[in-house]
């Protein structure tokens, strides 16, 4: 490991950091990535042990506050009805995601123009389309072309996941209602792909795929980037980004694996720390020249935090479902995605359908819902529930609201003494009406499927998977943090490539769009290398 000046320093080795690293590697610049977590060992993922379900409440909890691995930092999300979910390690959130891989729609980039709320993005879907396609190829996405709810696009590299029992029951229900549905785009290998075996249906996909069929960037982009010469240093937690007398980023102060404070100089700094980690780092990089945080002359760093509030509804059918013996994702619906003002709200949501859960999760959640008696009746009731659940979740668009924000907690710190993020968030009125609509429609779907004992979780408490909007892109420095190709308005050698860039959230999982954006920013950087700081 050398401490020479890096041409490009990337902070974060997750979805976007990996994509940027891979894309920039062809320039042969000296590229270093600092990641506060480590390499994951698939042999240690929960699905390799008998206690695989129970680890959801322990070391593989989606919440960093519960999980409390050494690589985690605490987050004060007491003032939010949705708790932040993240993961630190090589692969970042792609280690712990469910690999649902939709793209934002063309209309998602023109919310102000089309629906009179929020703002338009400074770029459009057409600009990102080649990068979506490239990311699908590198990641390995399975799906089915021809979805009438989405514009024509290149065929996904692999065929879709099988419908299974759950997808069949749900598809029939949707057909009965006359509503749109389609097999989901999923970042799971359904055939042999680029040296990865096809999915063998471990089912416990979200907390790490022991088989490597689920695409996480530690097995997709990073091997390619490292072979191309990118240096990835793990267990290196960045404390602050430093600047020089010219107001340019000069490097970062970080703690290495031994906890020793070090400085890495850099010509260009790229932030890829997600919609909570990125504003946290920028705010922690305040200085005399940047008293309100680095790159924050707009005052928008940390503001406009958007989750996707999930309205989850589930019920129980007579037939046996796939339960947790297959990837949780199967089909989606865009029936209520595009705006219809007659619904009483603008924008919309996607339905993400779930195949079912395993016995332990069924027991614990049914107990919490009061469905599971104690005593002699327990066994019969449990057997009516177990293996019969179907899930319908509305992924609701969140509008950007300035009071929803990430700041620095005045007291809470991580194990290196770095101030932790604090979340202040409320669900907006438009989204609340949307969630009610989604719950009602989801109940109709489950009724059409013949389900009973309907349960609702709204919002899903540990549903802050999607962290967006807190360093938005735009052409106006007073109303955005970075420009239309990801460069900070204030600091011309500072770039952001993660979900912080989002101007609006859309109503679908963001990873595909995050990575397309990262590839786009990297491409812009390569095109402008000769005058990158102009």
């Amino acid at each position: 490991m050398s401490n020479e000046v890096a041409d490009v320093l990337i902070i974060g080795a997750g979805a976007s950091g990996a994509a940027v690293a891979w894309s920039l590697a062809e320039t042969k610049m000296r590229i270093v990535c600092l990641e506060q977590g480590g390499w994951m060992n698939p042999a240690a993922y929960p699905s390799t042990g008998r206690d695989w379900e129970a680890r959801f409440w322990g070391d593989f909890s989606p919440s960093p506050n519960i999980r409390a691995r050494p690589e985690d930092y605490p987050i004060n999300d007491d003032n939010s009805p949705i708790k932040v979910v993240n993961f630190n390690g090589v692969g970042g959130g792609t280690v712990m995601y469910t690999a649902h891989f939709p793209r934002l729609h063309p209309s998602d980039f023109r919310v102000r123009t089309l629906d009179g709320v929020a703002d338009d993005w400074p770029i459009d879907y057409a600009t990102l389309e080649p990068f979506f396609d490239e990311n699908d190829r590198i990641t390995g996405v399975s799906g089915l072309a021809g979805d009438p709810a989405f514009p024509p696009r290149a065929d996904p590299p692999m065929p879709p996941l099988p419908l299974g029992r759950s997808g069949t029951i749900l598809g029939r229900a949707m057909n009965k209602l006359g509503w749109h549905w389609w097999p989901s785009d999923v970042a799971v290998a359904t055939v042999e792909y680029e040296g990865r075996a096809r999915c063998i249906n471990l089912g416990h996909c979200t907390p790490g795929c022991a088989q490597g069929a689920k695409a996480s960037t530690d097995i997709t982009y990073w091997p390619l980037a490292r072979r191309a010469g990118v240096e990835l240093r793990t267990h290196c937690r960045v404390r602050e980004i430093t600047t020089n007398e010219h107001g340019m980023a000069s490097g970062v102060v970080y703690y290495d694996v031994e906890g020793v404070e070090r400085f890495q100089a850099a010509e260009v700094v790229v932030l890829a720390c997600n919609g909570v980690g990125t504003p946290r780092l920028l705010l922690n990089s305040a200085s005399g020249r940047f008293p309100n945080g680095l790159a924050n002359s707009s005052g928008l760093v940390g503001r406009n935090l958007m989750f996707h509030p999930y309205a989850q509804v589930y019920g129980y059918v007579e037939e046996e479902t796939d339960s947790n013996r297959a990837p949780p994702t199967c089909i989606w619906s865009k029936e209520f995605y595009e705006t219809d003002p007659e619904r009483g709200f603008v924008r919309g949501y996607a339905f993400q359908f779930g195949r079912g859960v395993g016995p332990v999760m069924e027991a614990v959640t049914s107990e919490a819902k009061g469905l599971l008696p104690w005593g002699a009746e327990h066994h019969a009731v449990f057997r009516r529930l177990n293996g019969h659940r179907l899930n319908v979740s509305a992924i609701c668009e969140d509008l950007p609201e300035a009071h929803n924000r990430v700041t620095l907690d005045p007291e809470l710190k991580d194990c290196h003494g770095i101030p932790a993020p604090r979340i202040d968030y409320t669900i907006g009125e438009n989204t609340a009406r949307m969630m009610e609509h989604g719950i009602a429609r989801a109940k109709e779907v489950l009724d059409a499927a013949g389900a009973r004992d309907i349960c609702v979780n709204s919002p899903i408490l540990y549903g802050g998977w999607h962290l967006l909007g807190t360093a938005r892109m735009g052409t106006d420095p007073e109303r955005s943090v970075v420009n239309e190709w990801g460069r900070s308005h204030d600091v011309r050698n500072l770039f952001i490539v993660d979900g912080s860039l989002f101007v609006t959230s859309g109503g679908v999982n963001p990873t595909s769009t995050i990575q397309a954006l990262a590839l786009y920013v990297a491409d812009q950087m390569k095109r402008r290398l000769a005058n990158l700081f102009d």
Binding site: S47, H105, P151, C199
Partner: protein
Amino acid sequence: MSDANALTVRQREDLRALAATMIPASAEYGVPGADDPAIQAEILGCCGGREAPLVRTALDQLAALAGGSFASLDPVSREAVAMELRATGGAPAAALIRVVLQCYYRDERVVRSLGREPRPPFPQGHTLEPGDWSLLDAVRARAPSWRPSS
């Protein structure tokens, strides 16, 4: 101190009695109760570490509701006290109940009774039925529903 020693003798007795109240043995389904020795050993193994504070608090709550030893109560009283803990015990009770359930529902005998193999998902995986893609025909026939951006 081992995990098993994280609880006192009284707490372990109360835990076993509570588990039996929650999930009794069933000859009909051929399964042990949650007070089965092997399942109890699993539960005790989970009661240390990060779960310990909440579990101990819940068992103390149980004892307080029972006016002493929960395990010493008659069955009717046990059921009433158990229900009261369930209703009023908050986060500690929820944690204790979850530990009992997660250990019970990974016991080999219980898993087999559910028609499943008692093994981790990896490396064998499972088989997923292909399904019938002709179900999509009705959707394919629909007009495009996406909005252009301009």
